[in-house]
């Protein structure tokens, strides 16, 4: 424990590192929107990919997987690649269809792995060839677990071999390469599927088991919290969703005196500490609205206790910053379905639904079997939520390959499995890029948070192929498509340059340093100060403001490694990526208003008027989150 706490102290150092980054992004803000454009260009996927290829592609785990998935570079002396892979749609077809990667992987300069085995990988992997071997075995194991020719025996044999190959990674030793550690976690996830941990009816047992494991073993809880905080510091992975959702919520409830957020998975409650921080630090002196949080927890088990604990921490935090706050819980049914009647409603409150999925499984407080999320979303629509925020792993664009029948199921799981591998390799890379020297900290984050997440993601991918899972394209698409017809709420944008300029020029002089600690806050506070002007802009019909979620997310990214990207894939959705890989998406929706909170009448869609401007997140300094988290962490140790 002592050691881990030392790691926490190490985090302090990194935070000061962040503040230097922040300073530079502050100067870019001072330069006005031109710099913002510059930042945007720098982050656009294509440009970023180009840089990835030419500069550091060779050192990239992600690139290794990319090269394996599309090793059609092997056959460049053959005819058109498309004809080369007639029965291979899931291997290359998917990625060919997915945009930037397809255009670049055929570029002969791209591959990390070249034909005669000369590896260009850097010092990361002592045996880069081994990385490829691991990847091929993982893919083969996924193939063996699915499809018309599924063979448990083959899967078992492959997993035995995989475990031999990664066995020395057990202690998260420094000797293990990134790829080996990643492969070890995916091997475990596949083994869980093979062992039948994959539930027949209810899903997410993996996740829940991992979560409850951590929750029920006191000695691990401290680890998990520490790891959670490390992840907060090391990457925008957590904050991205929280800030984007919070920003959308702030915009939606602007001017309302009482706000009621029903949170599907409150986890440690960090998101709401951040929301309170924003509510109480409005520069216009408007007193913060009353905030009530209702945490959804599953019936029985530790989820309820954990939620209660989060509530206790939030209440303490609210009291410390003068945020009027109350906290409650509602239970899911025994079948994990959400029943609107369990939510205590108070007249005059603006109701908000918050649904952050796939966050650190180790900290999650709910199980998430099939149908549970859907019941929550529809239930909240029935209750008349003003806005629904969804943060989830980005599932990419809806794929055409779903159309092919027959092998679709096989390709489906393998493709999704490889996608997860791809995604997590990007997470791995991003963590390493940000914190190259802190292998011990990374090991902790990987073990405590990412490993359970991987198990959950693989299990979901497996279940989804069965046809009873969530839509391949994610909950956002589900909300758009299902009978409920949630309406996309456009995120306020920032790139109306003229409006931006005027707002910024006016805002500058009124900048008030709001950060008591002075750490990192001075830069970020600029984002919040133009709130008053944004209100004016709103009156004049300008739909954009600097405080919008997109710009918030972008500012957030400025604090981290350059490899992070942000993309607005649709007006109501932004996606966090690492280089070319999409990691998480945050989207904002408005349910059709319900006259009666019972069964939703179809076809009655009234646009919900949204105030696009907002009070803004006053400060985006992270030390309050640290203190929020660290306090109980210490307490528990």
């Amino acid at each position: 424990m002592e050691v881990i706490m030392d790691d926490v102290a190490g985090g302090e150092l990194e935070i000061s590192g962040c503040s230097s980054t922040t300073t530079s992004s502050c100067s870019s803000l001072d330069d006005g929107t031109g710099m913002m454009y510059h930042a945007w260009n720098g982050l656009s996927p294509v440009a970023d990919w180009g840089a990835f290829c030419s500069d550091d592609g060779g050192q990239d785990l992600h690139g290794l997987i990319e090269s394996m998935l599309c090793d059609d570079t092997l056959v460049d002396d053959r005819a058109a690649p498309a004809s080369m892979f007639p029965d291979d749609g899931y291997c290359c077809g998917y990625y060919n269809a997915s945009g930037p990667s397809s255009t670049t992987t055929t570029n002969p300069g791209t591959p990390v792995y070249d034909v005669d085995g000369q590896q260009q990988q850097g010092g990361d992997c002592p045996d880069p060839e081994k990385g490829l071997r691991l990847l091929h075995l993982l893919m083969a194991a996924a193939e063996a677990l699915s499809g018309p020719h599924k063979s448990r025996e083959l899967a078992r044999v492959i997993l035995v071999r995989l475990k031999e190959m990664v066995s020395h990674t057990a202690g998260a030793s420094a000797a293990a390469s990134n790829m080996e550690r990643l492969a070890a976690h995916f091997t475990d996830a596949l083994q869980a599927l093979l062992d039948g941990s994959h539930p027949v009816g209810g899903g997410g047992r993996q996740v829940a088991a991992a979560a409850s494991h951590h929750h029920h073993h006191g000695q691990h809880t401290g680890d998990v919290l520490t790891a959670f905080q490390m992840l907060q510091d090391m990457s925008p992975y957590m904050k991205f969703g929280h800030f984007t959702a919070n920003q959308a919520i702030l915009e939606a409830v602007a001017g309302d005196r009482r706000v009621h957020v029903v949170d599907y998975d409150i986890a440690e409650g960090v998101q709401w500490a951040s929301l309170m921080q924003a509510m109480t630090s409005r520069p216009d002196g408007v007193p913060p609205p009353h905030l009530r949080i209702t945490a959804v927890s599953r019936a029985g088990g530790g989820g309820s206790r954990a939620a209660q604990e989060a509530g206790r921490r939030l209440a303490a935090f609210a009291a410390s910053i003068g945020q009027p706050f109350s906290f409650g819980q509602c239970r899911l049914d025994s079948d994990e379905k959400f029943r609107p009647a369990t939510v205590r409603m108070v007249k005059g409150e603006t109701l908000v639904a918050n649904c952050v999925l796939h966050q650190a499984a180790a900290t999650t407080t709910v199980r998430r079997p099939t149908g549970s999320v859907a019941s929550f979303l529809t239930g909240m629509a029935a209750l008349g939520a003003k806005v629904v925020t969804v943060v989830e792993e980005d599932q990419g664009e809806p794929e055409k390959d779903d159309e092919e029948s027959g092998d679709a199921a096989a390709g489906g799981f393998v493709a999704r499995f490889m996608e997860e591998l791809h995604r997590y390799s990007a997470v791995w890379d991003s963590l390493e890029a940000g914190f190259p020297t802190q292998s011990r900290v990374r090991g902790l984050v990987e073990r405590a948070i990412l490993a359970p997440n991987i198990a959950g993601a693989v299990s979901r991918a497996y279940r989804a192929v069965g046809g009873d899972g969530e839509a391949r394209s994610g909950w956002g698409e589900w909300m758009r498509g299902s009978g409920f017809r949630f309406r996309a709420v456009p995120l306020s944008c920032f790139n109306h340059s003229q409006a931006d300029k005027s707002v910024w020029s006016k805002a500058k002089g009124e900048h008030t340093p709001a950060s008591p600690s002075g750490r990192g806050g001075s830069a970020m506070c600029a984002a919040g100060t133009p709130a008053a002007h944004l209100a004016a802009a709103d009156d004049s019909g300008d739909a954009c403001g600097h405080g919008g979620p997109a710009s918030q997310a972008r500012l957030l990214l400025g604090l981290f490694n350059d490899g992070y990207t942000m993309e607005e894939t649709s007006p109501n959705k932004i996606v966090l990526g690492w280089k070319s890989q999409r990691l998480l998406s945050a989207s904002v929706w408005a349910p059709p208003p319900m006259s009666v909170p019972s069964s939703p009448p179809e076809g009655v869609f009234q646009p919900v008027a949204m105030a696009p401007a907002s009070g803004g997140v006053g400060r985006m300094e992270f030390d309050y989150i640290d203190s929020f988290l660290v306090e109980p962490a210490y307490a528990l140790v």
Binding site: D71, H136, V157
Partner: protein, 528 residues
């Protein structure tokens, strides 16, 4: 946690290795003492001679025998022999084996038990691969029983067949993927699946350049898959001989067809009023191991019908590359031993070698009973070649033709043929696992190295029915095995693993099956 697992595995590996060594010693002991008890004293020269050097120490007088060169003649009258039943009936009581059609539970358990085996092949880049012997619930399974389960356990084919399809389709990315996977899972010394993966990968790697062109093939990274054991043609002669004898002892793969053939030949020799000279043309893969039993049985033919002279003409290789199991290492010659043995049982034997069937023609003399034994050679010749050889055999107008062949046919496509060969090789490897009781014996490796070459065969295999048509077309009609021959074969089979069965293959032919699946058939033909 995984640390503990790996530690436990190391211990298990070490245990397995210890066991293995012990077993190996036992095996060696068995070979040098009376491991050939199924042949009993009838071929005591083999056992007496098992100081294998004895085979080679006496340089045969006529090393370059050719057609008709009589190597030796033993003219002394047959000595009285103890009246025992046919040697084929000697089921060794020490190797108790349940009835033919019921799978032997103990043996299948045995296969399960050595859970981990360290790969000792030099090719293995990672020194300690765990090779779990597959658990095989339900044992061998009666005919077709648990076939689906069995198929699931055969994971190597689930990688090799798609890989073969990808090779033929020129899908290099898929080939590369499967090569990587096979490269991690193959071992020439693991369980049957790992060994099949090893032989299959090697065959596919060799096939690749021809299928996709050398340039494209060069772009595919091929994992190390060279078989560390040379095949028959390059084997060490003493090991070669020891392996042949051992294989006859522990597996009916060749022993049973040989025994059936011998019984039929002896019967043919006994036909007619007066004892006649017997002439056997050997177009087979037994390398002499088949004949002592025949010679012995000839001396016991009732009523003094033993042939006054026996001539054995060994036909030279028909195919290039030689058919699997047909090659022998340079320096191997069984003639002196067989001649010495014939002398010891007072049988007049002449051994000749014919470069081809054409030269056999000139060697046939009138009044002798001519029998042609076509055993496991013709199937590896090209289709036209088969017809040609058969028409030549027909031209010899033999009294009897014995045709033993593998009962395997693909669908005519390259991938289909490969799948059929793979399936047969699986039966071979699985049955040798049982035959050698899971031991990674030197003999087993040599036999499997040779068997593995069958995957690269050019010619398409043919099933029993196709052969029947082919024989009929060549002007033969099928004859039935006598009851006695079938009975002796049945009792012989009992001494082998319970996975083996024998069944009628129609029109008096006999089929050999492993775990309910066809392996080979043995049939008799006469000129129509």
């Amino acid at each position: 946690m995984p640390m503990h697992i790996s530690a436990a595995c190391k211990i298990a590996c070490m245990k397995a290795m210890n066991c293995h060594e012990k077993e190996h010693q036992e095996l060696a002991a068995a070979t040098t003492s009376n491991g050939l008890d199924w042949l009993e004293d009838s071929i005591s020269f083999l056992t007496a001679d098992v100081d294998i050097g004895g085979w080679w120490s006496t340089p045969p007088a006529a090393q370059q025998d050719d057609i008709g060169s009589v190597v030796a003649q033993t003219l002394s009258p047959p000595a009285p022999r103890p009246t025992t039943s046919s040697p084929l009936a000697h089921a060794s009581p020490s190797i108790a084996s349940p009835a033919v059609s019921s799978p032997s539970e103990p043996s299948s358990k045995k296969r399960k038990s050595p859970a981990h085996r360290a790969a000792s092949g030099g090719h293995s880049s990672s020194n300690q691969r765990r090779r779990s012997e597959q658990g095989r619930p339900g044992g061998g399974g009666k005919k077709g029983g648990g076939a689906a389960n069995d198929r699931d356990m055969r994971w190597a084919e689930q990688l090799l067949n798609p890989c073969a399809a990808a090779v033929e389709a020129g899908n290099l990315s898929r080939v590369q993927h499967l090569f990587y996977v096979l490269g991690e899972l193959n071992s020439f010394s693991g369980d049957a699946n790992h060994r099949l993966a090893a032989h299959g990968l090697r065959a596919l790697a060799r096939r690749l350049p021809a299928a996709v062109g050398p340039a494209a093939a060069a772009a595919v990274r091929v994992p190390a898959c060279e078989c560390p054991t040379p095949a028959f043609a390059c084997a060490e002669p003493r090991l070669f001989r020891a392996s042949l004898i051992r294989f006859h002892e522990v597996s009916p793969w060749f022993a049973l067809p040989n025994a059936l053939a011998n019984a039929a030949v002896a019967q043919a020799a006994a036909r007619g009023g007066e004892p006649r000279p017997l002439h056997v043309v050997d177009l087979g893969v037994s390398h002499g191991v088949q004949w002592p039993t025949l010679l012995e049985s000839l001396t016991r033919l009732p009523g003094g019908r033993a042939p006054p002279t026996v001539r054995l003409t060994v036909a030279g290789p028909t195919a290039t590359p030689p058919a699997p199991f047909s090659a022998s290492p340079p320096g191997y010659d069984f003639s002196p031993h067989l001649l010495r043995y014939a002398k010891s049982i007072d049988l007049q034997l002449a051994i000749g070698r014919a470069a081809s069937l054409d030269s056999v023609h000139g060697f046939v003399t009138a009044g002798e009973a001519l029998v042609v034994c076509l055993q496991f050679r013709l199937g590896h010749a090209a289709a036209e070649e088969r017809a040609e050889i058969l028409s030549k055999v027909r031209g010899l107008n033999p009294e009897l033709v014995v045709l033993s062949e593998l009962d395997a046919g693909g669908d005519g496509t390259a991938a289909g043929e490969f799948a059929a060969r793979l399936e047969l090789l699986w039966r071979f490897l699985e049955s040798t696992s049982a035959a050698f009781k899971g031991r990674d014996a030197e003999e087993r490796r040599l036999l499997e190295a040779e068997a593995g070459t069958s995957l690269s065969a050019e010619a398409a295999g043919e099933g029993r029915d196709a052969w029947r048509e082919r024989m009929a077309a060549a002007g033969f009609e099928e004859a039935a095995f006598g009851d006695e021959a079938v009975e002796t074969a049945k009792s012989l089979l009992r001494k082998y693993d319970g996975g083996w069965e024998m069944s009628a293959a129609g029109a008096g032919a006999v089929a050999l099956r492993w775990k309910g699946q066809p392996v080979s058939f043995c049939s008799l033909w006469r000129p129509a």
